[in-house]
Amino acid sequence: MMLQIDSTVVTWGWGFLVAYIAMILGLGYLGYKRTETQDDYATARGGFGFLVLALAYAATVASGSTFMGIPGLAYGMGFKAGYYAMIYPIGIYIGVLFVARITKKVGDRFGSQSIPDFLGDRYQSPLLRVLAALIGLFLLFYIMAQVTAAGWMFETILGLEYGTGIWIAGALLLVYLTAGGSHADILTDAVQGAIMIGVTILIVVMFATGWGIDGGISAVNGALPSDMGWNSHTDPENPTFANWWVIFLLFIAHIGFTAQPHLGNKFFAIKGSQYMKKFMTAAAIVGIALPLMFLGGVLGRAQGIQIDNPDAIIPMLFVENLPAVLAAFLGVAILSAIISTADGLIIAISQIFANDLYRKTYVPWSGGDPTSDRVNQRALWISRISTVVVTIAAVAAVRTPPQYLSILLWVGIGGIISAYSGPYLVGTFREETSKTAAIIAFVVAFGVYFVIHLGPQFGLYEGWYPYNQNPFASTGIGLIISCMVTYIVSQFTEPLPTSHLDEVFRPERQASTDKNSDD
């Protein structure tokens, strides 16, 4: 779809794009200067304060979906889209409260460099690490979705062909990620997060004042068709908002969202565990604010903006209502939101190859020492090479946007949430959680998710789960099954050795025990 964009917007858009590229290249260089080891590249361990990390985390969560998909949903469905927009961050940031402290503590103690690695260390299980890493590879579809969104943004704001836009997005990512790894990822995401807050505030002000419509918020509601107005809570025809139960499952599913490898690895980067409370508070507040972008979709519909692709409603709202210079700036800001999610995903996948499969699996299996300098240098090179390969593969795969991209996207997201949640969430609160329980729950929950959602979506058979079309309602069930199986199987299986549990949960005590036994 080629939109008719004012040439002034396009000119300003190019100007802001050049400034944006200069900024991320500068931050990428800064990241490069701070990256000496594989651990620096993979985690930026202990490298950032709570505010920078909270902004980076919120920016990574708020992907192209928050700035394009959700406002597009609101444009098509009205106020009830707010139940997705505002409920999903509640799930995610409650999940952060549950797991952040332990992930940081255990990750630092064992030198874990990714969430699959963390699970392997927590449960002393190379098998769990490999299983988690292999399922994590499905995040490639998530990157493909972000690159597709970036291509559309280039088309909408800069008037570029979609096919050209995706390669520019890929090149941008490559330049700063290959050099600066996690440091560059977090630095650029933090700046992008700050810009995104500004955009969100602008949208909220436009909505609250009923921009372009006389009469404020009530007039916005009045301008909508009755089934989109604020008195319409659910829609039996729409799988996502069919009833209150599926909305509740949407919340449940997102509690496990923080287990996604590109989010969980951010916890390692905070300077110290003592900053964790401040990080959690800041992230929880910023994170709930950004999805208010859905109000822009509602306002766009109320203003009667006609558009073929609802996902482009926010840029079109800017183009229709604001001076060209501001519209162009905000368009580039949305592009930065998309890029900020894609970069975290690429780093996470590169670590599956470099750390989870090579350093922590292949090297010990072949009798080598995973902590040796030689292995670490080689892992750093694998990180950089796999960053290049993954980025090029993702861009090449969406030259023609795949027909089943949204389904494939949820193979990764829903599969990871279903499989990881039990071992990750239950294992955080219950020390007694056994290795056997974690592995069984991992496999069973992914299987359940496949049976109730993926099978019918791929057309393998008729779905019997009433909400099989709804990935959130299916993932919510996967998460519940995963947690239940982890808990129940742990009751009947051997817990991990006490010495290991002390090392995981009470490193200070373990250290003093080691010292006494040496004496």
Binding site: I87, I90, Y93, L97, R101, S232, M280, T498, L501, R506
Partner: protein, 62 residues
């Protein structure tokens, strides 16, 4: 305001409140939960972890 809306929901279901009011309530409840977790639960869990290890070690000794 929030408690008034909550009472309305409890008595009449969602028919008397609009989407924005429901979202205002859930967001307020969320922020209260975050505050409770940060101020109370984090310290409690850390103490639990310490005690959990102590209890297990005592059991091992007996």
């Amino acid at each position: 305001m929030v408690s008034y809306l909550l009472i309305l929901i409890l008595i009449h279901g969602c028919s008397l409140v609009n989407v924005l009011q429901v979202l205002a309530i859930t967001t307020t409840a969320y922020l209260l939960f975050v505050a409770f977790w940060i101020l109370k639960m984090e310290d409690y869990l850390e103490t639990q972890e310490e005690d959990g290890g102590k209890i297990r070690n005592d059991r091992t000794k007996t």
